[in-house]
Symmetry: C2
Subunit: 216 residues, 2 copies
């Protein structure tokens, strides 16, 4: 059974998954890199090219971080994760990740401005789709075969899939900072805990890993 | 050195310390007892009379819960913790706790409607004070001698003392529920983590205990 999964999704202790003022040189707005600091030293993120040539850590953070790609056949992301611009496309923009993005699967990008599919190196392709979460998931499953679908963010995309009750497994990383402003993950999700079994594991880095598994 | 401490202060994972619609028969509003469920089985809360005659649990929750009274010389609480009414006093109201309240120390109640001190059984007295957090703390320290001062809540009282940077130690209990509405603890506290060293301990009950210790 193919599952819909969220991985490595960091929020501040006051519930913000991104800060205020997102723009080209500040994709997380005033949050800077603070929501990702826990992940950067891990082997998984080192191999994604975040820090150069270091070997990368093993430990609790790496254990959680490393699960993101295994068994995934497609990612769905919001347009705001793919690009800093809003509105009609600057078609020179092909993502933040260069010619060989780290996904290595098809990626569905939710947008009200469809454009032709971009085929990148290394197995990644970007498919631009104007659809509801349920419709996008149907397209994703067709691309994913028997593999799982990852909801890659940003905040409003994860929230919309939670609202539509389309997520089976979710890994949230609580970062002990108070961002104060930005985009809140939990808004409109009152009672979410009734749908999930939730466990917590603190890491020596200071963050708390939360796993959400759909109750059956 | 006398410290200012917060204990057993529960919030939902979306940051609410109380739900919406607080009233006489629902002091936590639509949250009901969900923010306190972790604490009710503990020996400390059993002895406070929450569940009758059970022996009460020992374990991680009890370890955190039991610290609330030790070394405390006075509590400061907001008026909304003391009474469900707002505005001028119904002077028949002497708190939720009966003739022998569980504080056994002086308690300062912050209110814009001062009234005479109430002397209760068992060492508790209620002092009604119209003052800023800093002024109230000065009065509390005079009553506490060398002992510590506990900030007893509710949400806005804890937040005001955090805003004024008057809290040295804080124990927050993250309850994995999404309340969706009510009173938020973290609002207006952007950057709070710069003032505190924060650690986390998950409990088998599902909650996460957070300790905040002032950085020096």
């Amino acid at each position: 059974m193919s599952l819909v999964r969220v991985h490595n999704f960091s929020i501040s202790i006051d519930g913000f998954g991104a800060g205020e003022g997102q723009q080209l040189d500040a994709p997380f707005g005033h949050a800077g890199t603070r929501l990702l600091e826990w992940a950067l030293p891990t082997r998984t993120f080192q191999q994604l090219g975040f820090h150069g040539e270091e070997e990368g850590s093993n430990g609790i953070d790496e254990t959680f971080a490393s699960r993101w790609a295994s068994g995934i056949g497609v990612e769905i992301m919001g347009r705001n994760k793919f690009a800093p611009q809003r509105g009609p496309w600057d078609e020179d923009w092909n993502g933040w990740w260069g010619d060989n993005p780290p996904f290595h699967t098809p990626v569905i990008i939710l947008t009200h401005h469809p454009r032709p599919t971009l085929t990148m190196d290394g197995g990644t392709s970007f498919h631009f789709v104007d659809a509801s979460p349920a419709e996008a998931l149907e397209q994703a499953r067709a691309l994913a075969g028997d593999l799982d679908v990852r909801i890659g963010g940003g905040v409003s995309t994860v929230r919309q899939f939670l609202e539509a009750d389309l997520i089976d497994q979710m890994h949230i990383v609580l970062v002990p900072i108070v961002l104060g402003r930005g985009e809140r993950l939990w808004d409109s999700l009152e009672g979410l805990e009734q749908r999930f079994h939730i466990e917590a594991a603190p890491s020596p880095s200071g963050v708390i890993h939360l796993t959400f598994a759909r109750r059956h």
